[in-house]
Amino acid sequence: MKEITNKLQEIAARLFNEGKIDVFLAWEKGEHDFQTKSYAARSVDDVKNIIFNEYSIYNVSNSLLKFRDGQERIGIAVKGCDSRGIVRLLEDLQITRDRLYIVGIPCPGLKDPLAAARSFGGLGKKQEPEGLAQKCLECIQPNPVIYDELIGSEQTPRQQGDRFAAVREIEAMTPDERYKFWEDTLSTCIRCYACRQVCVACDCRTCIFDEMKPQWVGRETNTTDNMMYHLVKHAHMAGRCIECGECERVCPVGIPLMLFNRKLIKDVGELFGGPEAGMQYVEGAKPTLSVYRENDPDEFI
């Protein structure tokens, strides 16, 4: 990983020196060795702070949203999942391809800094497993799907067995069992909206949950409002979730949010086929469920 860090710094320095970028988005070291944070290097002097290590798990494509209204030319380091996020932003016209210089990193699978911080901090359960993060164990696309330059060699997807096994378990429940399962799970939500904030596919400028006139979803933390929040949030992700797993990783109450997303990935695949969200970038192409036509044979969505 040290090699990747060196290479990233070298590339970022070169891009700054050649005057090709105004900012380079990657990761920097956090407070502890097991923490990293998203980082925006703004000059060749900042480049030394850029790192890539086994905890560089944060999806930096999300950081592009802070730059969507600007003119900056942006260098960005991406893993496989992050690169799919870039495709999503390009498809949604949130950023233009010519503003980006993408440095791809085939990802060997990373660890979760939040799990490490919990173990270290002495809160909650004493120790959590130290291996690869759950989202990395479930990874189907470790290699960047879009890049201008690639560092390192291709990695093999780590997803083993039936990717939708957990979804099938829920599908096999009776409606009452299923309702009970979600009622129990979602009643714990504290509505901190971290799942929304770290989601690169959540790129709406005005979010339905922040609307007050009218207020579409109630603000009480009870089963009804929590279910509405999650149903609406995840239904919006149909055909859009790039499976980076950040929502589930950051959830402070451990809600298995990827169950929703995988269910929708499965349904969208079965109903419409076609490539999954962010798996390939074709200029002008739109992902499933993102196209509106006046002569649509159905009357309304």
Binding site: L123, G124, K125, I190
Partner: protein
Amino acid sequence: MKVLSKAKLEEALNKLSEANEVFVPMQKKAQSGYFPWNSFVSGQDELMLEALNVYQSPKGAVLPQTEKMYRYQQGGMEINIEETFEDSHPTIIFGARACDVKGILAMDEVFLTRGYEDSFYKARRSGNTIIANACYEPGPNCFCNAMEVDCVNPAGADVILRDGGDAYVWEVKSEKGEAVTAVIAGLLEEKEVSLPQLKPFVQKVDYSGVAEKLKTMFEHPLWDKLSEPCVNCGMCTFVCPSCYCFDIQVKMWGDEGYRFRAWDSCMFEEYSREAGGGNPRGASKERFRQRFLHKLEFFTERYGTPLCTGCGRCMIVCPTDINIVRIIDAVKEAEVND
């Protein structure tokens, strides 16, 4: 000294739960927080009194995340308040650490002093007894000592528990404390227990002068850099033991409805949105700055003590590793032009 043997802990919690809702730190499936003892599922849930702390603070016992205020009926131009929900049922927070108790004391200042008493908070707080758990081993993120908290002698506690190995020393501090002690008097024993020495704090934090210095730093460029990784989720505010902001909203069907309040977060765009649509804190940086100025400057100005209690939770949960200790450091080190 009076002690409660750990072997009798569950019995004591059962006894206290007969007439009180007793909030105890526990791991409940994926959740870690204060939950009513009578919701404890043996074999599935885990009591967390021995752990340093839990993820979610006990503030919900006195300021629930969602709290119904009143129910009303509308008829023409008339509105009748049918029922108010001031709730003073007896509650006990069992095993709270000093940092979390300080969070509640901060809320007492906000809701009960300076000329206005919040009747909903007052009702809950009047029925609430705090049994605190003294800390002798500060964790790696703890810095309560720098935020005017004495972790060995939690201020505001009605009873203080001191972990003496096989038993908790049971130290009564107030009349409310006497009352709950009477309930479990039969389980307490007289015994001499040796108590541990307070271990040194790992975090070295110097808050002195920070509130004063921040007065001059509203426009300081350091906020740009510090706030950059922040994604403006509300996790830090919701796990914080002292963040008390709420929003009052309404649900109505036809002519009837109810008002409730729910925790709100200065991290959210909608929090500071004005009725006309303007927003004085429209950008991420402004919301970030507000949170830390409130914790470290504004509250100290108004109430003479910081709103951060040094529990360290926000540093553990933050998805982008925002660290309030490093922010205090950065403020200390920042150059300020007079």
